[in-house]
Amino acid sequence: MRHILAKELKLNLKSFLIWSLSVGLLGLACILLYQSMQGEMKEMADAFSNMGAFSDAFGMSTLSIATLKGYFATEVGTVHGLGGGMFAAILAIGMLSKEEEGHSGEFLFSLPVSRTKVIIAKGLCVAIYLVLFTLVCGILYVSGFAYLGEEIPAAQLATFMGRQMLMNFEVAGICFAISSLSWKNRMGAGIALAMLFYFYDVIGRVVPDLKDYLFVGPYSYVNAAEIFTDADTPVKAIILGISVTVCGVVFAFYYYNKRDLAG
């Protein structure tokens, strides 16, 4: 099993590097741009904080984008949330199905290894890269704060990154289940799913009637404005997120073990 894991890590290394460095460096660039934009930010912050539902949706009514913390929450929060969700979706949705699409399944499954072990190895690969993605991005963001000589909101940043990672696991869990169903790599569907979750959250925060159902979406517990203003922990959404992740993985094990493999 460790050889399958090692092979998967190697095959997905390039994708991991591209996504983690792209998202992390984009976030870092946003942080580094803060000082040059600081003067203009004060006027913008007043304007943005008085835009009603729109300001609520992006957390600008509770957190001023004129401060680095507020700026990070609104700018980097969006970049990291979308980038992480898409990376998780792309990584997981092709993990099982690529064997059949690329016809390598006949080679892999003719080796003396059970489907369960293959699923474990591939699931571990997804988990390892999601943790590393969070670490790489986290290190780059902290470097940005340190370079600017600003105080690092360590606890809030750790909560933000931890919940982002959980959200990535939830998206990956759903996509891993889809991957077990499919004989083709549904990368487009994975990206669309991540986008759908993101916009469900944005719309849910703008439309008052949807607010009660926000917790259903994985982006509901990663809202940076809430985290950086120490809002109450959305326990219901987090429990649902963990449950969905577990269900996705369990389903992948169950279904992939019982179905025919395409040639």
Binding site: H3, K7, G102, S104, F107, L111, P112, L261, G263
Partner: protein
Amino acid sequence: MENVIEIKNLTKSYGKNRGVIDVNLNVKEGDIFGFLGPNGAGKSTTIRSMLGFLKFSEGSIRILGMDSVKDHEKILSEVGYMPSEAWFYNTMKVSDVIRYAADVRGIDCSEEAAKICEKLKVGTDKRIKELSLGNRKKVSIVCAMQHKPKLFIFDEPTSGLDPLVQKHFFELINEYVEKGATCLLSTHVLSEVNKYCKTAAIMREGRLTMLDSPKIDDETFLSFYEDEEEK
């Protein structure tokens, strides 16, 4: 001699579509068994059921005395399989694919792999995506043979191979069979059946019929491929 393959009343369908119907097959140790039949007759379905790729609905399969479902991993450690279309991971190097197959098996096959690579003239430095079908098939042969399995299962192994490599391929099979291995050879090539197979069976529309002898003439062979309605 013991049966290396024992299939009893195997039935596999794909929804409403026929796969194989009530297949019974015994292949003895040391045999080179010719598995014939038109495209879509059910040969690959039988092979893929044996290897656990397909979940069959009725019947039982025993390979090397073990149950194909319960002892799936143990069986695969003693089997060398070459699929009709040899696909691997495009970005991997040939040498990495061969080593990977050995590593997953948990054994060092480097000596045997080097011997087979030399005999079949397999270039190990190239990436899989740079290889032609014939060269991918040669890699597949190495992966199927390097661990010296007790049972070989080849699905149309020689399509895409040049005549010299085909000759070397059958020399290797004979060498392993002389040492006690068994070979199931699914093929459309009459000369291979006549020259190398000891027993043979024909599969037509999901049903299997044993042949009295693998030594058959062109006309008889081609008649296997005619539609039931034409006959």
